[in-house]
């Protein structure tokens, strides 16, 4: 019962011969070696496995890899520059101490990336509600909310600057 599956992850295409019962998170981690995405509960509650599928944050433990052929999948490995330079969201997490053990972090980052792409001007309460999608056992969540809030402001400021610049 092996099936050929073609996946596009972080812009790269992969052809895999796998059992169809393999979940997306297991395929990402163990067939593609993208171990940045973590497994926390395998029933869709903790969100450690959150990745983007066509831009939307989803639970990679509740999807079979075979289901997402043709979709654009993005994982935490896509965020930092190839030389390791962290992106603005990652930088905000570090500055606000939005991570301790780091296990929930990739899921939190992808959740936030997906959310901010759709809602560039969220209120703190909206951010808090989205952060409630995932579990963190270390931080008490406050600094995660602050990090995302800060990142959203910085992105808005940068966008505004760009607009102002283009007017000149």
């Amino acid at each position: 019962m092996i099936q050929l599956v073609e996946l596009t992850v972080n812009g790269e295409r992969h052809e895999l011969a796998i059992e169809p019962r393999r979940t997306l998170v297991d395929v990402l981690r163990h067939d593609l070696g993208l171990t940045g995405t973590h497994v926390g509960c395998e029933h869709g509650i903790c969100g450690a496995c959150t990745v983007l599928v066509d831009g939307a944050p989803v639970r990679a433990c509740l999807l079979f890899a075979a289901q997402v052929e043709g979709a654009e999948i993005r994982t935490v490995e896509s965020l930092a520059a190839p030389d390791g330079t962290l992106n603005d969201l990652q930088q905000c997490f570090s500055e606000h101490h939005g991570l301790q053990c780091g296990f929930c972090t990739p899921g939190m980052l992808m959740l936030a990336e997906g959310f901010l792409a759709e809602e560039p001007e969220p209120t703190t309460e909206e951010i808090r509600e989205v952060v409630a999608s995932n579990l963190c056992r270390c931080t008490g969540y406050q600094t995660i909310v602050e990090a995302i809030d800060d990142c959203a402001s910085r992105r808005r400021a940068a966008f505004q600057q760009q607009l102002d610049g283009s007017r000149v």
């Binding site: 297991d26 926390g40 296990f103 980052l109």
Partner: protein
């Protein structure tokens, strides 16, 4: 915010510098145990008991071995491993030793107990294999509560433990205490039952083990807070020398105590790797983590307290029963919770008379391990309830009553034979109350109550012993005494250093904070310090991280080793620069002798590559080793928590409107990390007070096998926390630091419970059990309406 390069001596400790751990963890480039893949690796899963209490009649694995992908399957008899046994040096009437077999033999004692191990080519096939096992049980009556365990004629979980009692100690009984109570103006009593909890690291437990023929070693990469203890137990169980076992720990997704004991599964998986000479990985799935991992905190208290008419506490009389589940954990034993509660209960108050009996009972539930705070969240909650009840009985303000009884003169020798080093007990209470008052919460509560809003304010005052040295643990009569820490420091040719620590960060930022300590001692930047942890081959012996010991003991050892290396550097530099070693100072990444300066790299060049230039009595190389142990009774961090809740009369729901924490952990090495520890700890304390409970049905079946039932709070339930720092430096740790890992968890249940009860004040109902049932709140408010 942070200067990236050079800082002068003394500048690093106290600065919230960027964490060394962050870049890899944020980029998804950490290495957790499940990220490790070895060639030819097999995947293990366990056949687990479906019965809470039963004779094991037969375990048939024939079908298992025919499942596609399954490579092997073993029972206890097949593997023939030694048991895991933890001991106390106490007489038989105080402690009954029991063995925990790696795989169940003859009997199962809880649902989820491992019976057989299945290894397969992938985790899916391993689970297919587990399903094919046939286990025949002869069910016995399960013992599913502490009261059932202690009942006359109760079935025995362990034949050797009469009345299912593993530990029964009466550590203190002040002479004449009965008279104190008989003559007291007011006596109050608190009866509390606290729910069983799961420490719940987001990363479940796991291990990768393989036999290496070249090193002749069983290499075990495991998710453990205590790698050396895993080595010791594993070596014994499989019959290897300690040097034939190497335990390393990769990045860890939290532990909180659940991983500071030796797990049966990691031993079994390693034993199979040894037998098959193939790498074996075991990753605990969440269902097993919720039902079969080490749990904690299910305790029952009956506490009476005597007060004088003017509110002076005169005596405390406590009976504590801890439901430790099916087995004693290694190395702490089932005594961990009752001994902690018994030893520490008088806490921050001047209690002149104290009597306590602490018991650990065994039941047919998953066994327990230490969990962040160990009994302190519970007894602090009980004692803080005592003060609330006494205040009501005496017609006094509860905060004022606390003030009257707090220890204010230090060092203070307690009725529990503990000497408390200086802290800010009174100051933290004053500041916490003032903060909430200034923010307007008291007037809001008083103005708005009576309408639809039901607001309450609660406090918790406590101190926690951090940095238990050998002496403190020896007092508990542990046979394994985890006190000291050893650190070894080496400088390389570039003048950068690597430092070992026997402690083990699993989220606490030691790669950063330990480096800050070293950087200050040597006058180099903290990013020129590499911390080496979690490797039994590279670290002489270590006790890992638990009990808020890392910075107090591990940090002190690291500091001491740094000082020794600094002396070496000064001596060599003075020789090379023809100056006086006494006048040599570490400065700017080198040594200054008078008006001349020599970089560490140049000194290292001599120490390694031109040893003939060294002083006569100085050997080649640059390294030093030092150890540290906290003498006496350890050092006490302290805090006051204040919590404001609003209750919803229509649903019984609880919302936390405000949370203030005034904490004192002495010198904070990295204030942002300290705050993170406090906030995360408070979240876990709130979880215990309001949300999380591992429940069982009457047959011993766990009722919370998923996150649907085990309700870990999210960002919607956990409030922002305002943190205020006080600083009472410790006089006998190398940095003046006290532990900061557990305090948040310790204070929160009491603060939340007191706040809820304050909000219920007009109803006459008092709720003393956790997690607080919303139905009880609903009913209390309904009657009042």
């Amino acid at each position: 915010m942070v200067e990236p390069h050079f800082r002068r001596d003394g500048a690093w400790v106290g600065a919230s510098v960027p964490r060394r751990e962050d870049p890899r963890l944020l980029a998804g480039r950490g290495r957790f145990v499940d990220d490790i893949t070895l060639p030819g690796m097999l995947h293990a899963q366990f056949v687990r008991s479906t019965e809470a209490h039963a004779e094991l009649l037969a375990v048939d694995l024939d079908e298992v071995r025919t499942v596609p992908g399954v490579v092997a399957a073993y029972t206890a008899d097949d593997l023939d491993l030694g048991d895991i046994t933890a001991l106390l040096d106490r007489p038989p009437h105080e402690f009954v030793p029991t063995a925990m077999p790696v795989l169940a033999r003859g009997k199962v004692r809880y649902v989820g107990e491992p019976i057989a191990i299945v290894v397969a080519k992938d985790p899916y096939a391993a689970e297919d294999g587990v399903e094919a096992a046939v286990v025949e049980y002869a069910p016995l009556q399960p013992v599913v509560s502490d009261t059932a365990a202690l009942a006359e004629g109760a079935p025995l979980v362990h034949a050797e433990a009469p009345r299912n009692t593993l530990v029964d100690v009466s550590l203190f009984a002040t002479e004449g205490i009965d008279d104190v109570f008989a003559e007291a103006h007011t006596v109050v009593e608190v009866r509390t039952k606290t729910g069983r909890q799961n420490a719940l690291p987001l990363e479940t437990r796991g291990v990768v083990a393989d036999w290496d023929d070249r090193d002749e070693q069983l290499r075990v990469q495991t998710c453990s807070q205590v790698p050396h203890q895993v080595r010791t137990v594993l070596a014994k169980c499989v019959g290897l020398d300690e040097k034939q076992v190497r335990v390393t720990v990769p990045d860890m997704g939290g532990g909180f105590g659940q991983k500071c004991v030796v797990g049966r599964e990691e031993i079994a998986a390693a034993a199979v790797a040894l037998r098959l000479r193939r790498p074996v990985k075991w990753i605990e799935d969440r269902r097993d983590a919720l039902t079969a991992a080490f749990l904690a905190r299910e305790q029952r208290y009956v506490v009476r307290a005597a007060f004088s008419a003017d509110g002076e506490i005169l005596g405390l009389d406590a009976d504590v029963v801890c439901d430790m589940g099916a087995y004693s954990c290694y190395p702490f034993t089932a005594g961990i919770e009752p001994l902690m509660a018994s030893a520490e209960m008088p806490g921050v108050y001047r209690v002149p008379a104290y009597r306590v009996r602490g018991r650990a009972v065994t039941t047919n539930k998953a066994p327990t391990a230490p969990y962040r705070g160990v009994s302190r969240p519970q007894y602090v909650m009980v004692v803080e309830r005592v003060f609330e009840k006494a205040a009501r009985a005496l017609g006094m303000d509860a905060v004022e009553l606390r003030r009257r009884n707090l220890i204010t003169v230090f060092p203070y020798k307690g009725v529990n034979n503990i000497t408390y080093d200086p802290g800010s007990y009174l100051e933290s209470l004053d500041l916490c109350e003032k903060t909430l008052r200034d923010e307007g919460w008291f007037s809001r509560r008083d103005d708005e109550n009576g309408g639809d809003r039901v607001i309450g304010i609660g406090f918790a005052c406590f101190s926690e012993r951090t940095g238990y040295g050998s002496g403190a643990f020896a007092q508990r009569k542990m046979q394994v005494v985890p006190g000291f820490d050893i650190s070894e420091i080496t400088m390389d040719l570039n003048g950068t250093v690597s430092v070992t620590t026997g402690t083990l960060s699993h989220g606490q930022s030691h790669e950063t904070t330990m480096a800050q300590i070293v950087a200050d001692r040597l006058g180099i930047a903290y990013d020129r310090v590499k911390i080496v942890q979690g490797d039994t081959d590279r670290i002489t012996y270590g006790w890992g991280s638990f009990a808020s010991r890392s910075i107090t003991i591990g940090g002190s050892a690291v500091a001491a080793a740094s000082v020794k290396l600094g002396d070496q550097l000064r001596e060599i530099a003075a020789h090379l620069l023809a100056g006086d070693p006494e006048a040599a100072v570490l400065e700017d990444g080198g040594v200054r002798v008078g008006d001349r300066w020599m970089s560490f790299a140049d000194i290292a060049d001599v120490a390694y590559l031109k040893a003939h230039l060294l002083p006569k009595d100085v050997g080649p190389g640059l390294s030093a080793i030092a150890s540290f142990d906290v003498g006496g009774d350890g050092t006490f961090s302290n805090a006051t928590h204040g919590c404001v809740v609003e209750l919803d009369p229509g649903t019984g729901g609880v919302e936390i409107l405000r949370y203030v924490c005034v904490e004192d952990c002495g010198v904070a090495i990295h204030p942002q990390v300290v705050e993170g520890q406090a906030r995360g700890g408070i979240a876990q304390g709130i979880a215990g007070a309001l949300f999380e409970e591992v429940r069982y049905d009457d047959g011993g079946q766990p009722l919370a096998p998923s996150f649907m039932e085990y309700k870990v709070p999210t960002a919607m339930e956990i409030p922002d926390v305002r943190i205020e720092h006080l600083e009472t430096p410790c006089a006998f740790t190398e940095n003046g630091a006290k532990g900061a890992g557990e305090g948040g968890t310790i204070g929160a249940p009491a603060a939340v419970l007191n706040a809820v009860n304050d909000a219920l004040r007009h109803t006459g109902v008092e709720l003393d059990d956790t997690p607080i049932p919303r139905e009880s709140i609903f009913r209390a408010l309904e009657v009042a309406r």
